[in-house]
Symmetry: C2
Subunit: 338 residues, 2 copies
């Protein structure tokens, strides 16, 4: 089949190619009837205007890039859904990039996106990023960036976050009220601001309820499942905590597996609570108590923020922050009646 | 900051713009030293060639579109990871589109992709697609399509599948050997080929072991959680099966919730097995027996197939099929010793 092009479409309709082209660009100087006639014929012929040619003229890709540390996680898929709904309503596509928590990949993605492939970026920063000056040197007005969840404090960009300090404080207080006196805190990267904020909520709750803060019980885990399994088992055996608060859900899963292996009963001997948006938290053995972030709302607000920047590029350099609230959901993993 | 363009880069290096442009296109007629000099300077200046302009010349986007019915599912995130690894090694990007099992979205995505935004599509077809003649009219040689998992039988495209018939047969036989006599089969869309194949494996296992095939026990569920919950509870109460085999994991979750609500013990009163790649299947209460597809391998092979088509476009219209094998993993939800 010979490709159908804009010239042939114009000929078939007895119109100029520039009229047809203007119809595709939604130009206001074409009558609704003519536009309808052109689009109907185009649909019938299975014709779509060449994306790259028209983007070159408009310098717009109508694409939003989403950069996330991982995909196999209900939190990120819910955020992506939230973004997608807003994007689709405004006829934008989304591009999803997964860093596997690898800072080098994040850097490569962002550099690459600065070639016009996307109009804006919504990103949750990757765990191992310790130096990110490269981001400061990029022209954010040309390719705006909105952070969610994991942010770099020193980069001037709007951000959508949750009340992580309060949530951590509440989770720790909940374990204390359930009788825990030695609560371990498992983090992924203490250097990220979100890691620090969450840790501070944990520490302040201990102080408030006059429990000792034991540095040994604050544990920096890794991205390797095998390594975390070893770290957690060692911690459980040597330090014998009576509660564990994990900052990401995969550390709660690792804790469950470790307890199964070591024959430690949850919640009898160890109470567990985690940051998590897992939709089947109630189906776990035992059901997992969680701090659940409003993931879909976070995605929706991040997308709305990006569209506001498209309309008012000056916002790109603001540190505007929208803080949404998480919920503490008590389930069996932190129950007393076992 | 004034944007840095290719002309300024060429001036700074005292080279012609066409030499610089050829360096970015990896043209062989430039010396390695000159190329290195150009790329180093470009990196220092944070310059990337305009993606759309260079794609217009090459007519290549170096992008692979992945269309999946859902994201919040370990199977699809593992497949995407498998695709991504192959794509990245060949310096291609991936675009992810989620249909939410909605055929209209699938159609809109594919139409849109035919405008040059991607070089090829890897797709698992959406559940509700009953008429897909539109796909036959698209020029697959220009935008090749590789199916995985859920395919349309009548569309001539390469496909990566798993041994669904055998797997279903094995899962059903496993429940029979565990003592089940009334096994319900929960499907999402019986009209899709994968639904039919899986159902046939179930039916043939019943026949082979001389159990009656009761049409009432073959249940077509929906995409709505609330509706499925109602359907499954009604089925459990009215038909009193002693086994449930679910074709997708979210129906297993719905079955668990229904059993919790109705006080039906798994596996004591009801044994459950499901197609699922859930990484925490062992953490469920009780741990879930699964048929687990080699999801990452499926993604890898689908991507390799697409790159083979890029090299040999004639393959685009072949029905070449690669069949990978799933594994039956027995856990507590189908155990006898309870």
């Amino acid at each position: 089949m010979e490709p159908f092009n804009i010239k042939k479409l114009a000929q078939a309709l007895n119109l100029s190619t520039s009229t047809v082209s203007r119809a595709f660009r939604d130009n206001a100087d074409i009558s609704a009837a003519t536009k309808e006639r052109i689009l109907t014929m185009a649909r019938e012929m299975n014709y779509q205007p060449n994306h790259y040619a028209s983007n070159l003229r408009e310098q717009k890709s109508r694409t939003i890039a989403i950069i996330v540390p991982e995909l196999a996680n209900d939190y990120f898929s819910q955020v992506i859904h939230g973004i997608e709904r807003v994007a689709r309503a405004r006829d934008h596509h989304i591009l999803i990039y997964v860093t596997d928590d690898d800072y080098e990949k994040e850097l490569a993605f962002i550099r690459h996106l600065h070639n016009g492939r996307a109009d804006g970026i919504i990103m949750s920063a990757s765990g191992e990023a310790n130096d990110h000056t490269y981001l400061k040197n990029l022209p954010h007005q040309r390719l705006p960036l909105v952070f969610f969840d994991r942010v770099y404090e020193d980069i001037a960009c709007p951000r959508i976050t949750t009340n992580d300090y309060d949530s951590s404080f509440q989770a720790t207080r909940h374990l204390i009220k359930q009788g825990c006196k030695r609560i371990a805190y498992l983090a992924v990267n203490k250097n990220l601001s979100i890691g620090k904020t969450r840790m501070q909520g944990y520490i302040d709750a201990l102080l408030k309820y006059k429990l000792p803060v034991d540095d040994q019980l604050i544990i920096d885990c890794s991205n390797s499942y095998a390594e975390n399994s070893r770290i957690i088992k060692e911690m459980l055996q040597q330090l014998q905590p009576d509660g564990v608060f994990t900052s990401v859900e995969r550390l709660a899963f690792a804790t469950y597996y470790a307890c199964y292996d070591l024959g430690i009963s949850i919640p009898g001997e160890l109470k567990v609570i985690s940051f998590s948006s897992l939709e089947i938290a109630a189906l776990l053995n035992p059901s997992l108590s969680t701090i659940t972030q409003p993931a879909a709302d976070i995605g929706r607000e991040a997308a709305r923020m990006l569209f506001r920047i498209f309309e008012d590029p000056a916002l790109a350099g603001s540190q505007e922050e929208l803080v949404l609230h998480s919920r503490l959901i008590k389930r069996h993993s932190s129950a007393v009646d076992f």
